[in-house]
């Protein structure tokens, strides 16, 4: 009888934990996106492939797809190659130093793509810093057109996405046992060989994860190519915007979305085949068994690594060896390279600060005079103030919703074992995997049907969908480190389940909960794609208002906005770090 009484509870609990997020995703993601995709093959209630014929009839769309792939590949390559030494150096630093180096990467990571793209417009402009520098050093006589070119787009994209690459690679490198390359040294390997044959293969999962994250984000980008690119650097998502905003051609927008989605899913499928998707959430994959050691591929790889190793060793032999140096790869050239990359990452946003206080030089470099005029303009503008308020409200609401639906799901995914769990994980993470633009267009269509366009509530729901996966990921990582025996101990001491949560589980998880909340808030606060369609005029959010202003004209007021946002983000990171430390000190 007792087992009968317990039986229903055994399945009710997981359902209650998983249901909210699943429902949210079904209603706000699966249904709208499904509708959009269906619109591409249905016209007036009949099945048709007309939209696809139109898509492939002209070479325009195929060309744009090719350009998108080309830009994304270059961005991925550059971001990973330049980011690798940064992640490598940071992962090998002592704890105290590590925090301060990571801060610069995080600051760049959390600074809005909009701010950073705007900064590049200013820097690459005819009277911008870069042109001034090139002229002053005599490398050119007259300022040249740096903007609206492939180079500008690539600089902007790499700048936007390198922090993501660094942070992803860093999370893998942190877990590589540092005694392994040391062991290789004692076994007779020179430093270069030890790196290429031992460390590098072990860091490959990080490189792969970083590359796929960058590539998939890049392929759905529109901010950087719209602001920094010319007519030859139009990317696929810009076409979708055009179809929706100018011609309201939902079916065709759906067809382009299908094309984009297929490319993204194909990339993920290949990744899953090679490495296993579970490696992305930090769980060790049970499939990461290296290929058989006799395969041709293995021997080729081995030979390449061997060559790279001896080449590096020959290069290192040219430098006099210092007595101090015990860790290979942390030499002066390496450090200077990493500093240069961090400089590249941080400077554009920092340059906005002096420009925002400039008197009458506009956005030209160097700033002339000092005034608070732009700030006064900003605070007097009802458009900007409304937008700021709305962003805060929506961000707060979305973060609360995302916590409410995401945290139980994380508990479910970490604490229970059942078949189909990895499927559930893939489903939960799908808002990150599916290009944001497709979600946004689908939601816009859905919202327009039920009258949620332009409302804060609709936007909150939309942002909850994209913020919840981050909450789930963060909370899963936190929960994996949580010792469940503490709960059992509390219960053995007489605490009821609710009391256990209230007095033991949540206080210990407080820092983790707080950082997921901040993560979710920042995701919503910075979100442009959904807001692009779902808001407008007095209902704009900050990013939307920023976007509207920037696409109309480049004004110093935007530098003031950038500075405010930059300071706000820096403060958020600082608070998050404080909280983390406080929880560790306990």
């Amino acid at each position: 009888m007792l087992t009968l009484a317990a039986a229903p509870r055994a399945w009710i609990r997981p359902v209650l934990l998983g249901a909210p997020l699943t429902l949210l995703l079904l209603v706000m993601l699966v249904y709208p996106v499904g509708q959009l995709l269906l619109l591409s093959v249905y016209s007036g209630g009949a099945f048709t492939l007309g939209k696809y014929q139109q898509l492939f009839a002209s070479s325009v769309y195929a060309n744009v797809m090719l350009i998108t792939l080309k830009i994304s590949l270059w961005t991925t390559l550059l971001a990973v190659i330049c980011g690798y030494p940064v992640a490598y150096l940071i992962s090998s630093l002592q704890k105290e130093k590590k925090t301060s180096w990571i801060f610069w990467v995080l600051l760049s990571f959390w600074t809005s793509f909009l701010i950073r793209s705007f900064a590049w417009i200013v820097m690459l402009g005819r009277n911008g810093v870069v042109n001034q520098l090139l002229t002053a050093t005599g490398l050119q006589d007259t300022p040249s057109n740096l903007l609206y070119s492939l180079g500008a787009v690539l600089v902007g994209m790499v700048h936007a996405l390198m922090p993501l690459a660094v942070l992803t690679m860093l999370s893998v490198m942190e877990n590589i046992d540092r005694t392994l390359p040391r062991a290789a040294l004692t076994l007779g390997a020179r430093p270069g060989t030890a790196f290429w044959r031992v460390y590098f293969p072990l860091s490959m999962p990080g490189v792969a994860a970083g590359a796929i994250m960058v590539f998939v984000t890049a392929i759905g980008f529109f901010i950087v190519p719209s602001l920094l690119g010319g007519r030859r650097e139009i990317m696929i998502t810009q076409l979708i915007i055009e179809q929706v905003q100018q011609t309201m051609n939902w079916g065709f927008a759906g067809a382009i979305s299908v094309l984009l989605l297929i490319v993204v899913l194909a990339v993920f499928a290949i990744y899953d085949k090679v490495l296993g998707l579970s490696t992305m959430t930090g769980a060790s994959s049970d499939r990461n068994k290296p290929a058989a050691s006799d395969g041709l591929l293995h021997r080729v790889g081995d030979a390449i690594l061997g060559l790279l190793g001896s080449a590096t060793d020959k290069l290192l032999a040219l430098f006099p060896r210092s007595r101090r140096e015990t860790q290979p790869g942390l030499s002066i050239p390496m450090r200077s390279f990493v500093l240069l990359v961090l400089f590249f990452l941080s400077v554009p946003a920092l340059l906005m600060i002096p420009l925002s206080f400039a008197g009458k030089s506009g956005l030209n470099w160097p700033p002339v005079g000092f005034s608070l005029r732009h700030y006064l303009d900003l605070f007097a503008s009802p458009l900007w103030m409304q937008a700021a308020l709305r962003s805060l409200v929506v961000g707060f609401g979305a973060a609360v919703f995302a916590m409410l639906v995401g945290t139980p799901a994380a508990f479910l995914l970490v604490r229970s074992k059942w078949r189909g769990k990895s499927l559930m994980l893939a489903f939960v993470l799908s808002p990150i995997i599916i290009p944001r633009m497709i979600i946004a267009v689908g939601m816009f269509y859905f919202f327009s049907k039920i009258g949620l366009v332009g409302t804060s509530f609709g936007l909150m729901l939309g942002h909850t969908v994209v913020a919840a996966p981050y909450v789930v990921m963060t909370m899963m990582a936190v929960l994996r480190n949580y010792d469940t025996r503490l709960d059992l101990a509390a219960q053995s001491l007489g605490a009821r389940p609710w009391q256990t949560l209230r007095y033991v589980t949540f206080p210990i998880l407080a820092a983790g909960l707080m950082s997921s909340f901040l993560f979710a808030f920042a995701t919503s606060f910075d979100e442009l794609t959904i807001a692009l369609f779902a808001t407008g005029g007095m209902s704009s959010t900050l990013p939307k208002q920023f976007w509207d202003e920037v696409t109309l004209q480049i004004s110093p007021v935007i530098a003031a906005v950038s500075t405010c946002l930059f300071v706000f983000v820096a403060a958020l990171i600082w608070i998050a770090d404080r909280l983390r430390r406080a929880s560790m000190a306990r």
Binding site: D177, L185, T186, L202, S293, T326
Partner: protein, 360 residues
């Protein structure tokens, strides 16, 4: 004495103000098994990684086979190292792990294969070549780490607490295994451990370290029976340390007045410079104490049995005596095991040759 394999003079290492290793001299003979023993933070691991070349010294000199390698890179030294967590390369098979050092030495393919197979044979795991490290048990990984060192026949093998992660039974088995391989190959081994029993079992000589300095260097029985300092007497094995004041010195023998018990006893001074009036501790091992029932006349200390316990092959008795800490006595366990009742009066006696006076 065979030729010296490793010669260290004045080697030291500082981290800021912290002295990780004070200037140290050490000679290790060809084929010797030397153990660096000490509590954590005593400098034993620092010394080992200085020998390996993984840490750069702040001064002094080090010769391996007569070649100055003080500032040489690890790969230029003729050494092998077994790491605490084994440091097997997780992305390579066992065979590739073992072949790695041979590959680094540009050995041809056939020889590499043959030597790798031999090394696996040596550690008695010939069938595991195609597996990956994580598929092996801790004990097997340990053997593979050893095989990876043996395969290129370095003249010195360094081992950093290699058995620390294994359970007691496996550890005993591996100790014998390492001893066997050491005997068969005649390689010099420098071994780090904090387990005194392990050090005693395996070593030709033990180098006992404390606070970044060598406390005493000698054979296991030297250190056990002839400690030269209170630290050594206390660290190695169980001991009774009686407080006392030197009354009389006669060459190697001293007479000591015990602070508790008002008794004058004989002891060995073991070369320590003691003079009448200096405070000392007299160390007597539990198994060197003779126990007599009753407190009737005769020499020695008198006391009362506090507790008695069987620890296995030895039975331990704790005796309370004149205000001092309880005295431990041990003797082989025999039936009937309850020869002494708690509260019973007993008399303790020992031979002066089994007592060592160490300066306090």
């Amino acid at each position: 004495m065979p030729s010296s394999n490793l010669k260290i003079s004045g080697l030291c290492k500082l981290y800021g103000d912290f002295v990780a290793l004070a200037p140290t001299d050490l000679d290790v003979a060809q084929g010797e098994f030397l153990t660096l023993l000490g509590p954590s933070g005593s400098g034993k691991t620092t010394l080992l990684s200085l020998i390996a070349g993984l840490t750069v010294p702040d001064g002094g000199q080090m010769l391996i086979n007569g070649v100055d390698v003080t500032y040489g890179a690890p790969y230029e030294r003729d050494i092998g190292m077994v790491f605490q967590n084994y440091a097997l390369f997780p992305h390579m098979t066992i065979e590739d792990n073992i072949a790695f050092p041979l590959k680094m030495r540009k050995m041809d393919h056939a020889t590499t294969r043959r030597r790798a197979a031999e090394a696996l044979e040596m550690v008695r795991l010939p069938q595991l070549g195609k597996r990956f490290p994580r598929e092996l048990s801790g004990g097997q990984q340990q053997r593979i780490a050893l095989a990876r060192c043996l395969v290129y026949r370095p003249s010195i093998i360094l081992m950093d607490e290699p058995l620390g992660a294994l359970d007691k039974k496996l550890r005993d088995q591996m100790q014998l295994e390492i001893k066997r391989i050491h005997r068969e190959l005649g390689t010099t081994i420098v071994y780090v451990t904090h387990d005194q029993e392990e050090a005693m079992t395996m070593s030709d000589r033990i180098c006992l370290m404390n606070g970044g300095k060598i406390e005493q260097l000698g054979t296991p029985s030297d250190l056990y029976f002839r400690p030269r300092s209170l630290f050594v007497a206390d660290f190695l094995g169980e001991s009774n340390l009686f407080e006392g004041i030197v009354a009389h010195v006669d060459g190697d023998s001293v007479e000591v007045d015990l602070v508790h018990g008002h008794t004058r006893i004989g002891a060995k001074s073991n070369g320590a410079a003691l003079s009448a009036g200096s405070r000392v501790r007299v160390m007597v091992r539990p198994q060197n104490l003779s126990l007599y029932a009753g407190t009737a006349e005769g020499e020695g200390l008198r006391g009362k049995v506090l507790d008695s316990m069987i620890t296995g092959s030895l039975t331990k008795l704790y005796v309370e005596s004149a205000g001092a800490e309880p005295i431990v006595v041990s003797y082989p366990t025999a039936w009937p095991s309850d020869r002494y009742a708690v509260g019973q009066g007993v008399r303790l006696q020992w031979h002066p040759a089994d007592a060592v006076a160490v300066p306090e």
